[in-house]
Amino acid sequence: MLERSWPAEGLTRVPYWVYQDEDVYKEEQAKIWRGATWNYLCLEAELPEPQSFVTTFVGDMPVVVTRDANGALHAWENRCAHRGALVAMRARGKAERFTCIYHNWTYDHAGNLASVAFRRGIAGKGGMPPDAKPESQAPRQLRVESINGLVFGTLSKEVSSLESYIGPEILPRLKRVLKKPLKVLGAYTQVLPNNWKLYMDNVKDTYHASLLHVFFTRFRINRLTQKGGVFVSKDGAHHCTYTEMVEDRGDAYEKDGMRSAGGSGGFRLEAPELLEQLDELGDAVSIQILSLFPGFVLHQIRNSLAARQVVPKGVGRTELHWTLFGFTDDDEAMTRRRLMQANLVGPAGYISMEDGAATGFVQRGVAGAPERASVIEMGGATIGSGDSRITETAVRGLWQAWRAHMEI
């Protein structure tokens, strides 16, 4: 048990040691990533055929995700029962079985140990004793569930079904986007110079979007004066924020003299076709950002759709694995639209490139202040859904969920 105490203010303060402490990081691996949570693994579209596999991570733990010869999905720890080496070393591929290169122990698609090389020795010499139980150290198998093409896994036997984990506030918002079979358009990784929770803080922070991401506001893609709102799950763990396609003619930003306001004359794109959205989901929502605890984000930014997977890589480093997708029945024009709007997101994204910088600034800024805390009082001190995005309600939700898992 960690000997740490939370500031007396409760939900409106987050002490900075949460982003810095090696012991916290280790405990999170056990209690959160390998604990009672569902973790995003990949898209079903990445396992298109029987016997295909991808490798990924749940926290620090390497994981193999497979589709077996009968089409069923499996996920298991990428660790050989024998000496602990990686069993699958390729990022993806097809395999009839998995063979650890170290001593040729093999596994089936479900991660069961299928054979031990020279288990009975050769010509009566060598080999393992008859009562040896190498299976006792077999890679752990995850429970796997998929929902509208997203594959999740958990080591926990206790956690409820995936749908009930996500809950009734957020589930419809997830299904809203994933209406049809998915098609992968591509992937890349953004390396963030900060603790993984600073990224999740950022995603759930509806207050920052139009203030940090000036591209948004200059082109009136998302000003807080537009119609939108935020949903937070009952336990605070998951969130969803959305903005409707409304032409904003207000001048709240100019009146407040904010940096993100366009200023006199404003700023116009020479090639605005980059932003043209087709209302493919039919509900006039232009942006929806949805997060599931601990480390999954689904975005719809105009016609750009993506799954973002958070992979912690130590206290001060995080990898964000982006997989952008469309639907299998997209026509050429829709694919082109999605590829054009890929300019909005990712490491070079007009409206997302700042996130890595801002969260990195927090990691550096708090280096000398582990016992000081962030002030998270926008929208009060409670957690809940609402129609204002000038709130930090979803951020407080993250910390409520985190503290429950960590027992702090």
Partner: protein, 159 residues
């Protein structure tokens, strides 16, 4: 004579690449669209996406207006920590396609230097170019294939 033509073409294209690299490294972003033809395209992708046959760009611009938008956004909208690049180019292969057009493949390394002095091998990869030779050499198509799928923090200045 043929050899001399070839050497002249090689020099022309290496000079184009060098001017491009110096413009970016010297923060002359406003000059960057001029290295492309009016309809010229610029696409940054990864070797992994290329090998998987996936079309996703990290960054894509089609024509000078879009290239200028990228520069305007970097200058006036996007927030990023002050940083510089140093481009190192080598192994430039050149092939003439016709009297007006050539193709080039070149290796690159880009070192990113922060104000603190932190220097990082930010990117390595290949430039795959189609170059219009007249009236002066410009990129009709420049594809930047990064060897790694990873990008540190952000990719603001073009590669």
């Amino acid at each position: 004579m043929a050899d001399q033509d070839f050497l002249a073409l090689q020099a022309t294209i290496e000079r184009l690449h060098a001017r491009y690299a110096h413009a970016l490294d010297a923060d002359r972003l406003e000059d960057w669209p001029q290295f492309f033809t009016e309809q010229g395209t610029y696409r940054v992708t990864t070797a992994e996406n290329e090998e998987r046959g996936l079309p996703l760009p990290v960054l894509y611009a089609e024509g000078r207006p879009m290239l200028r938008d990228r520069v305007a956004s970097l200058r006036h909208a996007n927030i990023y920590e002050p940083q510089r690049y140093r481009h190192i180019l080598s192994s430039v292969l050149v092939e003439r396609l016709d009297s007006q057009t050539a193709r080039s493949t070149a290796n690159f390394l880009v070192v990113r230097i922060m104000e603190s002095g932190d220097s990082l091998l930010f990117a390595s990869g290949r430039y795959l170019d189609r170059i219009a030779l007249a009236p002066e050499p410009r990129y009709e198509e420049r594809v930047v294939v990064c060897d790694s799928r990873r990008f540190d923090t952000l990719l603001a200045i073009p590669l």
